[in-house]
Structures are given as C-alpha cells and as structure tokens.
C-alpha cells in the first residue's frame, strides 16, 4: 500500500483550546497542537475533554468522538467544527478557551491530493456538518490557487449561518429561507452540466447517496468523506465497518474518504442522522 497520509504522533496528547466561536448553529473550537502541524483535508481526530468526559449523565460520553478538522494554519493551529447532537458533541461544544482537549490524530486517509494541473475542476459539495472537511479542502485549494466550485446545503437559515464567511459558495436550503430552495442536487447538476468535474462530498447519508447516484450516472469521478460509529479511529476495533464493492472496509483507516467507484450505495452506516 503506497500510503502517503500524514502520520499521527503515537498515543493521545493534551492540547489547549485557544479560541471558540459559534458558526451558524455549530461551534468552532480552535486548538494549538504543536505535535502535529501536518493534516490533510478529510482527516479527523478522536477528541475527548480532559475534564468532564466519562459521564455527565450515566457514564457517557466515554469513548473519543471522531471530528474532522475545519481549518489549519499550518503551524499547529487547528479548528474543529462541532454539531451538538449528543452527549459527546454537546460537551465539546461547551468548551471554553483555556480548557484542555485530549486528542489522537490526524487519522484516516483524507481527500486525495488535488494538483493545480488537474484537468477536471474540483466540485466541493457539503451538507450540514459535512461542511468541515469540505471547507478544509476548499481552504487548501485556495492556498494552492486551484479554482473550484463550492456547493453548500443546509436545512434552514439558522444552519446556513455557517456559510457566512464563504460568500462565493452556492448555498441552498431545504426551506428556501437562504439561497436557492432545495437540495444540493440542482446546483451540482448545473455544475456537472457546465464541464468536467471531480466531486468531493461530505454530508448526511441521504445527500451523499443522491450525489453518488448522480455522479455514477454522469460518469463523474467522486470522493466521499463518510461517517460510521468509531471506537478507536486507528484500525484497532473493526467497528467502523462499511460495505463496499470490494467487501467490508474499516472506515477509519481505509477511509473516511472513499472513492465513488467502490461504493454500490450509501446507506446510513450506523449513525442515526441527527439533521
């Protein structure tokens, strides 16, 4: 396996929160992580809090939670975007500057590198909290001077607040309260119609499956950053199994980014979608 993924420091380390802010209905937490400045968009970390993890209510959250990174300053400053859907993400959302975070990572493969000489234009598609790895990729492409589409879908105006810092994105909402009404499929279809694209997508399973089906139909290469319940994040537990055409893979080490070509279909891979 010629595996050029950024390598994580062995073990779990403690880092400090240096900043927090809200973004739409999500929470951004920024840490300074000097041990691992290199991260690739689509990679994730397993996060837990040093204090207040292990059970505000009956012993949960207890295992780390997988969280993609939203941005990096290349010098150890890393931002995460958190959607508070359960005990773990609620606790993460409540962190304040100065609090300590325990993390393992960066983990997983991340999106494949996009060269500026690539023939097809990257088309980035995100739904809901799928925003994080997609904005991380967008940030990287901008730094590399790679032109790309950015298509973001949200449930409503409140969630769409998360797109406020990306004026060039094409935004759609289910209820039409912001941007175009409907899902990301309409703007994506227009993008695919307007020229050759490679799609990079992250979002809820239903959205990903619609994107996958469209890319499949139109022979568009596509990469999907996916989710599965994870206990370890580094291939130890075999819990994050996802069915592909090549058999079951461990999403944490063989993904979380999988090529559309190996996916027969995307079903909810275990996580009850909170959106």
């Amino acid at each position: 396996m010629s595996d050029s993924r950024p390598i994580a420091p062995f073990g779990r380390r403690s880092v400090s929160i240096v900043e927090t802010r809200s973004l739409g209905l999500y929470q951004v937490i920024k840490v300074q992580d000097d041990a691992a400045p290199l991260v690739r968009p689509g990679q994730f970390h397993m996060l837990s809090t040093t204090v207040g993890w292990g059970g505000e209510t009956g012993g949960r959250p207890w295992l780390g939670r997988a969280i993609s990174f939203l941005s990096t300053d290349g010098a150890g400053g890393i931002e995460f975007l958190v959607d508070g859907v359960g005990p773990g993400t609620h606790r993460l959302s409540s962190l304040k500057s100065g609090d300590q975070l325990d993390l393992v990572g960066p983990l997983g493969n991340g999106f494949p590198e996009v060269g500026s000489s690539d023939q097809t234009k990257p088309c980035l598609v995100a739904g809901g909290i799928g925003l994080a790895p997609i904005l991380a990729l967008s940030q990287r492409l901008e730094l590399d001077g790679v032109e790309h589409d950015l298509i973001l879908g949200f449930r409503n105006a409140e969630f769409a607040g998360a797109a406020r810092d990306w004026p060039n994105a094409s935004v759609s909402t289910d209820d039409g309260s912001v941007g175009e009404q409907g899902t990301v499929i309409a703007p994506l279809t227009r993008a695919l119609d307007s020229g050759s694209r490679t799609v990079y997508a992250c979002g809820p399973p239903l959205m990903l499956e619609a994107v996958r089906a469209l890319c499949d139909e139109t022979n568009t290469p596509a990469w999907f950053a996916m989710e599965a319940p994870m206990a370890c994040g580094f291939g130890a537990c075999f819990g994050c199994a996802v069915e592909t055409k090549d058999g079951i893979v461990r999403l944490c080490v063989d993904g979380p980014v999988l090529s559309g070509s190996v996916l027969a279909g995307i079903s909810s891979t275990g996580r009850v979608d909170a959106q």
Binding site: M1, D3, R5, I7, A8, P9, F10, G11, R12, M46, S48, G54, G55, G58, G59, R60, P61, W62, L63, G64, V104, L107, A228, P229, M230, A231, C232, F234, G235, A236, C237, F238, G239, C240, A241, V242, E243, G247, I248, R250, V253, T269, G270, R271, V272
Partner: protein, 288 residues
C-alpha cells in the same frame, strides 16, 4: 519487571487483548514507532479462523455507561492469507506473538493449531472457545466437558503453551477452567466480553448488526475480577486476567487475585499507548 509466562520471558505483565490492537493498521496511522515502541510485552493476534470472514453487518458498536458493546463478528482474512500477508509483518514486532485461533469444528481447530505451531516467533496459542459447538449447540467455553474435549483434541499437536480463553457468560467459569487445565491447557485467559444488548433509541429494535453484542471496558471490571479470582483459586496454571483494565491500579488488582499477566483491550481505543502507560504505572506501584 520481566515476567515468566509458561516459560517465556516477557518484558512486563501487560499484553493486548485479542482483537483490540492491530499493529499493521496502527503502523499505517502512527508510522514505524507503533512497531518500535509497541505498547505490549507480547502481541496477541485477533482471532484467526480457517476461512476468511467479513464479520457482522454494521452497525457494530454501541457506547454504554463506561463500557463498549461490540458485535464485530471475528472478521479476518482466514489463516492462509494471514500467513502470507500479516504474519511476515507481525514478526517484525519487537515482542513475541501469541496467536488466537477459533475453529467452528474440531477439524478446523486441528488445522489451525497444526499450522500455527510451526511458526517462528510464535510463543503460545490462544484458543477462543466462545464459539458454539456445531453438533451440540453449547458454547464450548461455557461447558466443562466440551471445553476439555476441545483442549484434548489439539493438545497432542503442539508443544507450544495452549491458552484457553474463557467466556464470562457461564454459570461456573472455575469448573470450565479446571476441565481445561486437566485436559492439558497451559494457561487460561479471561474474560471475553459479557453478552449485552443495545437498542436503537429511535426504533427500539436491536441496534447492532449482530443482534446482541459483547460488553467490555471498566463497566465489566468487577465481574471480570470476581471470575478471575475464582479461577485463580481453582487452578494452578497461569492466568491472563482482563476486563476493563484502564490503569496500573486496575491491572494490579488482577495480579493481586493471582493473574500472571494482564491484557488490555478497550482502553487502547481511547489511548493507543494505553498498554505502555499501564505497564509504567504498574512498575511505579511496585516502587511504592
């Protein structure tokens, strides 16, 4: 701090629990240091079967209060591909190998033990007897007679230490351990996971693809410690104690009730270097 286990000298008492640490995946993630600084004094492989297995349908995990419920279902490449692809890599670990195998019938088990016994760097074989006997339907590890027959069937095939891994879902684990020991087992490892059920909160149907799952982690430690103590009192062969060990102090409890080694499973999931940390804490406790 070195410890003698069935004639093998190990650097410390802490090994990994089968199926909870994959050195090859860890190396992809953490690089060569996952091998050079391997956290355990021996590597116990995930259970290997004769035929390749995909494992259970997802979802496979559920988090319960201070514990994990899994229905992984023993995914593995099967013995042939393991020999070809994994074994040559695992030999590069700086620690000896303990190979965990499971046969769905006696022929399978004979084949597995026969193959593994000849391998260099393998210092012991662990028999996962949590499978049902295909003829009688009993879980072999919960029945003293079945367990004795199983050990007896393979005892003649190998001079390597045979470790029998017991299930905690049994009325009397000590009786099973005595039977295993009398049939020639060299060591007992325990506990495997406790049978548990998780429901999907939305549908109240079983959440795990495999229906029920196995509970591990600190939530099962008191049960594991009670069973380990009763088995240590019942047999004179060495015991590998496990179940919820997450610190030097909790490892020390298993040693205190008579275990020779301690295995760490679920704790590695939250901290990939939990094994080294726990071994270090144990050594520290000795110095007090």
């Amino acid at each position: 701090m070195s410890v003698n286990f069935c004639g093998v000298e190990l650097a410390h008492e802490v090994v990994n629990a089968s199926g909870t640490f994959d050195p090859l995946a860890a190396r992809r993630t953490f690089g060569e240091v996952a091998f050079t600084d391997f956290p355990f004094s021996a590597h116990v492989t995930k259970t290997i079967t004769v035929a390749a297995r995909q494992g259970n349908r997802p979802p496979r995990l559920w988090e319960a209060p201070t514990s994990l419920i899994n229905s992984i279902g023993l995914p593995n490449k099967g013995i042939d591909r393991w020999l070809e692809e994994d074994y040559p890599e695992l030999r590069k670990l700086p620690v000896p190998l303990i190979v965990n195998v499971m046969g769905f019938d006696t022929d399978e088990l004979l084949k597995l033990v026969g193959v593994v016994t000849g391998l260099e760097d393998v210092v012991a074989i662990e028999l996962n007897v949590s499978c049902p006997n295909v003829e009688t339907g009993t879980i072999i590890g919960s029945d003293p007679d079945e367990c004795a027959r199983t050990v007896d069937a393979v005892r003649g095939l190998t001079t390597l230490p045979l470790i029998v891994k017991l299930t905690p879902n049994a009325t009397d684990p000590a009786a099973v351990a005595i039977a295993a020991s009398e049939a020639g087992a060299d060591a007992i490892s325990m506990i495997n996971t406790l049978r548990g059920l998780a429901l999907d909160p939305a549908t109240l149907e079983p959440w795990l693809g495999g229906g029920t799952g196995g509970v591990s982690g600190p939530g099962v430690r008191a049960v594991a410690l009670a069973q380990t103590a009763s088995v240590c009192a019942a047999v004179s062969i060495p015991i590998i104690g496990m179940g919820g060990v997450d610190s030097g102090a909790s490892a020390n409890e298993f040693l205190a009730v008579g275990a020779t080694l301690v295995a760490v499973g679920t704790a590695s999931f939250t901290d990939p270097m939990a094994g080294s940390r726990i071994a270090g804490e144990l050594a520290g406790l000795r110095q007090l």
